[in-house]
């Protein structure tokens, strides 16, 4: 903690949360609420032949038993379409499966009862006759020519086939001094937010208004979705995200079972609630990351990168995630390749397949960790092949986007980067030379330590160019409505949402500084579509980068309005006045009138103001990057690990990150964002995996069996910053929410494989289970050692 840094303002809500006064969706007292439990498909793919709910209907406490047919009266079917990717089209969906279930965990029947326990009791009384259908689980089966479709009627399972090519990669590979290649398997992961998905929906049939309390990142998006599917005008739908117990992209989609809850509220005209329990979270929360990648890299004798060729197979699950689709992971995996490096020749191709598994969707850093891992691992292999130190090799190849904008070989827009500065800072921070010396000494004692790097680009503050052209109704702007209340306090209603990142505090700091008022006179309101202006919410690391810019602009306009009014009241030139601590001061610095005085005058005695047009004390500003698709941030991470080659275990000893997210508003909050992201990346590399049998059954769907990173195994993580404010905004902040996750798994990959160098082995499949490590060592032992 930089305790001396005045920017390290603690979060106001933290004091409430540590006292147990969080107000998460399930904490809201909704009175006589119906609790919903779902009967879910036990099969990955099966036809529903017959369903009998009679016994469930008469079970104690049951209010209603709801099937697909019941909901068709109030909820329209939907299709997830991306205009520019017409093949990424999954079959029409409805909230509850009607004739066919396409993944184990798909909701089929909803029971509404007085208690959750009673709803579950009734679930056990629902009789369904199933006929199992062929299930597609792994990627090869999905891609096979004669593969049965994931859902009846689909022409095939291919949901994405996208390629990019730059330069002449074939020629570059042909002429290269050295070529390396590697295979990568990325296991399915899932978000595992500690607060499971929760939704509480109330519908008042008298006025036909729907209010949804929703543990979600993007309430405005959900208002769009509920409005469209339930046939209600936008103005009749209010979505409120109260405190949210973790989201990480998992709470960014419109889940069919949550759509069912809103539809049931409309159908029954009473409040209903669904809290996913942990077991159903594993089979209904979006999964992510599943991919297989083959990558090749060509370099010349001077240690310059020449060409890369990357082929990605991506797994989607049963349906495209609504409304954003499931293509992002695979697309990012090919487009973010080599983003931090100069590279002239590149070919990338991604094919994605539907499978009879839980739908895949967004998870923190979408695809970027895959691209970073492939790039960084190939770089290490190449450095080793031509005898260069991996750190030095990276430094020679960083892209030149410090002073002039650039595009990566795969088309990523870069500007004002600081990779070399971050790099140099990192090496000093970690005492790189000392670590290498120690590594060499310890190898003599058969202690195998590895040092791994991951330089990264993080796409932050993504604007309308991503979803706009795809015709996906997701707002990419962030907006801020500032109001001076009559008591002189300032109310900021922002479209940005905060699930603990600390965005509210960042905005508060920006406001206090720009406006010249005390922080404790500002209220920040988030997450309520009725109150906050239209905007994205929380996705693609946008809170401070975009929401902060909107806030800054609103603050400047509001301040100008305040001073204009004050100038007229004081008969002074507004330019000579200052707002300090909520008080207007004259050129001599003497206090003249408070913000409360001005607001009171405007609100109740405006006849005293000698202006024809009195400027508003409520202003709205929005911001979206329109000339650039996103604001790239950059940084570098390093991991230090020890591998036990006899047991196959890996210990993470140290971890470092140097990040440049532009102007840092609150280093303390930024640091913990990065650390949290790093730990999720370490989790991916070492622990997390949705294990599916060949039959499509999830075999480890509990928190005891799906291994998340815990404190005992995690290292201390040291963070340093390079601050290069972006010129794309006045504020200068870039995003940081995904930085840790973009690079951490890659740093573990390169570190583990560095440790294994003397043993001639490489790992290829994350998570690196002890068995995978031992298998790879055994394989290396069977083969001649590289000389």
């Amino acid at each position: 903690m930089n305790s001396g840094d005045p920017r390290n303002v603690p979060r106001r809500e933290a004091a409430r949360l540590v006292a147990g006064k969080g107000r998460y969706t399930d904490d809201i007292d909704a009175g006589d609420v119906g609790h919903i439990a779902f009967v879910r498909s036990p099969y990955p793919h099966a036809r529903i032949d017959r369903m009998n709910c009679d016994a469930a209907r008469v079970a104690p406490g049951v209010i209603a038993v709801i099937t697909a047919d019941d909901l068709s009266a109030v909820c329209k079917p939907w299709e997830t379409r991306l205009a520019l990717l017409p093949t990424h089209l999954s079959p029409e969906q409805i909230p509850l499966a009607r004739d066919e279930a396409c993944w184990q965990g798909e909701a089929v029947v909803a029971i509404v009862a007085k208690t959750r326990a009673q709803a579950e009791d009734a679930c056990e009384r629902v009789e369904i006759d199933w006929t199992e259908l062929p299930a597609i689980a792994d990627l090869d089966s999905a891609a096979a020519e004669d593969a049965p479709p994931v859902k009846s009627g689909m022409p095939n399972n291919l949901g994405l086939d996208h390629g990019i090519s730059t330069g002449d990669p074939d020629a570059a590979f042909r002429d290269a001094a050295a070529v390396v290649e590697h295979d990568f398997t990325f296991s399915r992961q899932t978000g595992v937010t500690l607060e499971p998905r929760t939704i509480l929906a109330s519908f008042d049939p008298r006025v036909r208004e729907l209010v949804v309390q929703h543990s979600h990142q993007a309430p405005h998006q959900m208002r769009e979705v509920f409005s469209a599917q339930l046939g209600l005008p936008l103005s009749a739908v209010r979505v409120v995200a109260p405190d949210v117990g973790g989201a990480f992209g998992m709470k960014l989609c419109a889940y069919p079972d949550e759509m069912a809850v809103a539809a049931i509220a409309v159908l029954l005209g009473r409040p209903v609630k669904f809290c996913a329990d942990r077991l159903e979270s594993f089979v209904s929360d979006n999964h992510a990351r599943e991919a297989r990648v083959r990558g090749r890299l060509a370099v010349d004798t001077d240690g310059k990168l020449l060409a890369m060729d990357v082929a990605v197979l991506s797994g989607f699950g049963a349906y495209a995630s609504h409304p954003r689709g499931s293509a992002g992971e695979g697309l990012q995996a090919v487009h973010m390749i080599a983003a931090p490096y100069q590279l002239a020749h590149y070919r990338g191709r991604v094919r994605g397949y539907f499978q009879n598994k839980v739908p895949s969707g967004i998870l923190r850093a979408v695809g970027q960790p895959l691209a970073c891992t492939v790039t960084e691992q190939l770089l290490d292999l190449a450095a080793r092949k031509i005898g260069l130190d991996p750190a030095d090799f990276r430094r020679r190849n960083y892209t030149d986007a410090d002073d002039k904008p650039a595009r990566s070989a795969a088309g990523i827009v870069l500007s004002q980067l600081s990779l070399r500065r971050c790099h140099d800072r990192l090496l000093a921070l970690m005492n790189y030379d000392g670590l290498r010396r120690r590594q060499t000494e310890l190898r003599k004692e058969k202690c195998y330590r590895g040092i791994g790097f991951a330089a990264f680009i993080e796409q932050t503050g993504v604007g309308p160019q991503l979803y706009g052209p795809q015709n996906v109704r997701v707002s990419a702007q962030e907006a801020c409505r500032l109001t001076v209340e009559a008591d002189g306090r300032v109310r900021c209603a922002t479209s940005v949402t905060d699930q603990g990142q600390g965005t509210r505090t960042g905005l508060l700091q920006i406001l206090a500084q720009e406006l010249g008022v005390a922080p404790d006179t500002i209220e920040i309101v988030t997450g309520d579509t009725q109150v906050t202006p239209l905007g994205g919410g929380a996705w693609a690391s946008r809170g401070v980068a975009l929401g902060g810019e909107a806030t800054l602009r609103a603050a400047r306009r509001l301040k100008s309005n305040v001073l204009t009014i004050a100038g007229s009241l004081l008969q002074a030139d507004p330019a000579s006045l200052q707002l300090q601590g909520g008080v207007v001061c004259n050129a001599a610095g003497l206090a003249q009138m408070s913000l409360a005085d001005i607001a009171t005058t405007v609100g109740f005695r405006s006849h005293l103001i000698p202006l024809d047009d009195i400027p508003d004390l409520e202003v709205v500003e929005s911001f979206a990057p329109r000339n650039t698709p996103y604001i790239a941030a950059n940084g570098i991470q390093a991991a230090h690990v020890e591998v036990d080659p006899e047991l196959g275990t890996i210990r993470v000893l140290d971890f470092w990150v140097v990040d440049d997210c532009g102007r840092v508003i609150n280093p303390m909050l930024v640091d913990e964002q990065i650390r949290g992201g790093v730990v999720q990346g370490i989790g991916a590399a070492l622990y997390e995996q949705c294990i599916y049998g060949a039959d499509g059954q999830l075999e480890n769907g509990s928190l005891a069996d799906y291994l998340v990173p815990m404190a005992g195994e995690m290292p201390d993580i040291r963070i340093a910053h390079v601050e290069t404010p972006t010129a794309m905004t006045t504020l200068g902040a870039r995003g940081v929410g995904e930085a840790g996750t973009v690079g951490a798994a890659a740093a573990i990959w390169t570190a583990v494989n560095d440790a294994l160098v003397p043993l001639g082995a490489t790992v290829t499949e994350q998570p690196f289970t002890p068995e995978h490590v031992l298998d790879r060592l055994a394989l290396a032992g069977d083969q001649p050692r590289p000389t």
Binding site: L279, E646, Y687, L707, G712, T769, P770
Partner: protein, 293 residues
């Protein structure tokens, strides 16, 4: 998920509990610490008609010195065992194993006897009980019997306990002066159940260890006492090769399961490594001890 409906009874004495178990055999389940039973209820993986909560039965409490053995009652929590200076002094293997058992809040509630009754193959205490040849006291209405831990565990979640019986206490034999112990396990994360583990008891004779009790757990359906270990004598100055050969010989007795933690054959290799390291550590400690004498 929420637990299914059941009847809850909380007898004040052992006879009351045994009567309920006798009258509702097959239906009734004992609730002690609940740290394994409650999750199965909350997942609706089990649906006993009746829970017999034994937490009010005073006679089941307490750790007691019985001379040749230490008695651990059915209500003794893992935390109590871990904090007992008597246990630490007299039964060193438990002190070695206890840091691997679950997490603080779970150790505060979970009982040692409950762990044995459940017979989770990855749990530490059953392996310790087998290594020490502890005696497990089983009561039912009108009858008491004592079963050796080595006969108690019969397979995956299978024990010698009948439905109408409950474990009332375990008797852990105290360490003899010339005994030495080792314990190691491989788990993915701290406090997780073991992928594979070893618990070892040996006799320390001049310049060697013999009378080895080597128990493999985690990898097996039930704690496995290596039959080959008994005949192995390890010289204090034995080479790594000798030790590796001995470890390999003992792991040949294993029948490790394939599961999410890995293939059985992988676990056999890992067990050999754990065992070799454990034995090396024990030999080191034995040497220190002999130099003390």
């Amino acid at each position: 998920m929420k637990a299914p409906i059941f009847t809850y009874r909380r007898p004040d004495d052992l006879d009351g509990a045994l009567a309920l178990l006798a009258d509702h055999a097959g239906e009734a389940q004992v609730l002690a610490g609940g740290q394994s039973l409650m999750p199965t209820l909350n997942m609706r993986l089990s649906s006993p008609g009746m829970l017999v909560d034994i937490n009010r039965i005073a006679s089941l409490r307490g750790i007691a010195d019985r001379g040749e053995a230490i008695r651990v009652g059915a209500l003794v929590r893992h935390a109590e065992v871990a904090e007992s200076s008597l246990m630490a002094a007299r039964i060193p293997l438990i002190a070695l194993a206890m840091p691997h058992v679950a997490h603080m809040a779970v150790r505060n509630r979970g009982t040692t006897c409950g762990s044995l009754a459940l017979a989770d193959p990855s749990a530490e205490m059953p392996a310790v009980a087998v290594a020490l040849d502890a005696r497990i006291v089983l009561n039912k209405r009108g009858a008491t019997r004592t079963v050796s831990a080595r006969a108690f565990f019969q397979g995956l979640y299978q024990t010698a306990r009948d439905d109408d019986e409950m474990i009332t206490e375990i008797l852990f034999p105290v360490a003899r002066k010339n005994q030495i112990f080792g314990f190691a396990e491989l788990s993915r994360r701290h406090g997780d159940f073991a992928t594979v583990g070893v618990a070892v008891r040996a006799r320390h004779i001049v310049g060697a260890l013999d009378d080895l009790s080597v128990v493999f757990f985690g990898s097996e359906p039930a704690p496995l006492l290596s039959p080959g270990a008994r005949d192995i004598i390890l010289a204090a100055d034995c080479t790594d090769t000798t030790l590796a050969d001995a470890a390999r010989a003992m792991t040949a007795d294993m029948e490790p399961m394939d599961n999410q933690q890995g293939r059985g054959e992988t676990k056999r290799k890992q067990a050999a490594v754990l065992l070799q390291r454990t034995l090396r550590d024990m030999l080191g400690r034995a040497r220190i001890r002999s130099s003390d004498v």
